[in-house]
Assembly symmetry: D2
Homo-oligomer: 285 residues x 4
């Protein structure tokens, strides 16, 4: 059985680490703020003292942190501890540039790198039913597949290292657009006297029926905008992709309009709220 280190025991990381433990892997965990490791310790799961210690003698180390700077910070420690030929699996969603920087650092150390951000949020993390978007060489992916299988229901091999992250960002670009469309549809419907509940029902029962729409639509109607994916992060992801598209000379007329709408929502003070807050944007009469 592979020996695994796990870094980042937040809302997503904790249940993912639990899944690995349940699946019988030799697991050691670490979290930057100690409090979150307590319940792992209580349950007999070894807790390391720092990033280097969590990586020592491990076949693979999984990182699930919140942003590029946290990734860079823990990666330094990991590379001090990780044996040569070990594998770093970054499951955090970061920019493409940050992913390539991590890849380079790991390779310089003589290790292997997999970027494997996930599609799905807390619930599927708890159920072990995440969809994992992996960028990795085929052989390396084969070796870590059992780990990924413990956490997700499916792994999509998106290409070489870096492509998992790219896939995640393209998904987020579409996701922002879909939210903006839902907000426009709901607002237009309401002006014309359609009950928003009925609109959500019609969307959900027909060909447009994405799970996203039922979850976010309900939040919109209930006026709950506690963040799961806040607007200012969505804006950053969109910005990155519009710049990349520009590098290809590819106009994205629709996504560019979505970017401005998200910008307006951030300017209206909703940047730290969930992206469902796009619904609040239009001036109400």
């Amino acid at each position: 059985m592979q020996k695994v280190g796990f870094i980042g025991l937040g809302a997503m990381g904790a249940p993912m680490a639990r899944s690995l433990h349940r699946a019988g892997f030799d697991l050691r965990v670490w979290n930057r703020s100690r409090a979150r490791s307590a319940e792992f310790e209580r349950d007999g799961i070894p807790v390391a003292d720092d990033a280097a210690a969590v990586a020592a003698d491990r076949d693979a180390v999984i990182i699930m942190v919140s942003d590029p700077s946290a990734l860079a910070a823990v990666l330094g420690g990991v590379l001090q501890g990780l044996p040569e030929g070990g594998t770093v699996i970054n499951m955090s969603t970061v920019s493409h540039a940050a992913t390539l920087a991590a890849l380079k650092a790991v390779q310089a150390h003589g290790g292997y790198f997999v970027d494997a951000p996930v599609s799905g949020t807390v619930k599927p993390a708890q159920d072990g039913s995440l969809v994992i978007l992996a960028g990795a060489g085929a052989e390396v992916l084969g070796r870590v597949q059992p780990l990924l299988d413990a956490m997700g229901k499916k792994t999509i091999h998106c290409g070489a290292p870096g492509q998992g992250t790219r896939m995640k960002l393209v998904i987020n670009l579409m996701l922002g657009g879909m939210l903006a469309l839902l907000a426009e549809g709901l607002n237009l419907g309401e002006r014309g006297g359609l009950a928003p509940e009925r609109l959500l029902e019609a969307v959900g029962d027909g060909p447009l029926g994405a799970p996203l729409y039922s979850v976010k639509g309900r939040m919109m109607l209930e006026g709950r905008f506690d963040k799961q994916f806040p607007l200012d992060l969505l804006f950053k992801d969109m910005e990155l992709l519009l710049q990349e598209a520009a590098g290809h000379g590819l106009p994205l007329y629709v996504s560019a309009a979505v970017r401005e709408v998200v910008c307006a929502a951030c300017g209206a003070g909703y940047g730290d709220e969930d992206m469902a807050a796009l619904y609040k944007l239009p001036v109400r009469p």
Copy 2:
């Protein structure tokens, strides 16, 4: 058992009429071009000679034709034949103005009017699993519900007559936007080296996974653009709703960008192809 007339035996109408027949209703049908009635005649289903005849002595007449002018044309005949107190159920998707004109004509005749466009295409029409978006008074809807239940798996009561059509148009506005987003996502992904099949898979397995995306995505990748819902009709629907939104002083920044993209696709000669042809739009290097 209610006596029903059915007008419009096209790709959608024919299987819907069959569903009514199977459910045991006393059915009489008519189609403007005679050819399409032949197989109904062969199967012993009475075929009328004109719109007035199909409506004579019926409790309700269902109309499923392709555009507002066809609706207006058959409605005149229907009102000559329909007994006072009969109900006209228009299931064709037409503009809101055409719906209100039909409503007025039917009411002037002393009849009841239901607008009941459907969400879903040929396959659910054949399975009797359409979602029906009904605009009707509650009592009238109650009376025709058994008919609708024979054709669809669910009826969403959208409000007074006219609101079913409005709902359908809002759905189509979002649908056009979702298609445009998919085209942008696929094109951007491909420029960055993502296999489009993997992108569709990642979309389909996650929160964005609408049935629309798997159906239209496959058409895009296979280069099949035979029309189910052609771009020029999509353009007309979007135009109608953007005008309505303007009447409310409601800006729809994203949908307005979609409108231009659809316009460009029509200008590029894809107006008579399926809306999946949006994928072909960006200049390929």
Copy 3:
């Protein structure tokens, strides 16, 4: 000297009629509300009792009213009075469809039609320095040129009847866009600490320096939004042209975004204010 009838003595029409009088033409005027003719009467200029009377025995009748319905209303009377072979010169800005309808009515009467909307507002109307955008056959235009020369500094022959109006609408489309750009530039500059007066100065002294920017820029900074060209009329003109562009399959990505911004301004309650009110749109912190 040609005998001329003039209909519409508003802010634009009155000084234009004065210019014709000063130039020595045999002038007769009429205005729907009598009050406005009083000072013409006082100055010895014949005032007719109705549209037919103003047109009787005239070589040409000039119409300068505010909208298509006013045009249609007075045109009926004019055609009752106008001798066969007379010319109707519509200088009001109306839709292309209204222009073509007027053309048809005049031709059916055996008359000639010129559409000649103007570029410029009250000041150039008073100075006789308007730019006139004429749609007319070459011979007809030659005949009425002396009249136009009395009112404007220049006539641009845009093509056959109808093309003057088309030119005016294209100008208005660009005008709306330029206003929106000025509003965006001023708002962005202010967020970055640039004094708006300095920005107007830099715009005015360089290659971007259109007269429009100095006039409207000053209104924006002084918070004066009394209408010269109100936002809801601008919206109508833009709508007409975006529909026409769509008919050509020509996407106008930028103008479509302007349309939404104008729509938002109307929705925010500025529809009856001058188009300079676009400046007020962005949510202020």
Copy 4:
């Protein structure tokens, strides 16, 4: 009389340096590629051997180079030679970040910094009629004003160091939008049968008549797209400002659409052509 160093003898810099010489200033020049200094040498104007030498004993050094990296490269040399208390005047158009970096470097050296990009191109540079957009402390600006007066007809004091650059970028944002509008207007007019020459005439003679439109409009009609301001540089400027606007939470719906149009033009292969090439963008029938 002040002692002045001048760096950058390109299409803009050479005539600007000439203007300083004509005005009687003690001038020393330098250009990275030697060829361009030859005619200055021939005319008896001292030519330095490097950036440090051009700055030695000077009261002020003026830099007019093509991009941020050239600015950074020469600035290092300048600061080696410039006496303490000397002034660096950067007249190159660079990003706001590059301007602030230069400001910091100069201040660290004990010098004064003025950013003074210009509005206008080669012709006004030759005539000494540039409009100069200056960011500087009031006292510093007073000291260098005689130099600026030799090169330009007017200096607009935009604020503290950095604000001249900001003003220039806002002007460029509007400029890109105006070009895109002109392209849309011309394309729409042509589809409707309006001669583009007439449209340019109507624009030029009325309130929209910016010098930009006559210059660029002529290039569009003559099919000349030799770069004066190429599309890929315009794109970079727009990108910078849209990012800044996003930082303020200020949506720029129109400029964002312009950005995509410019992106499409770059993608179509026009990035290295003059921005007038926007006219070529729409698919021709």
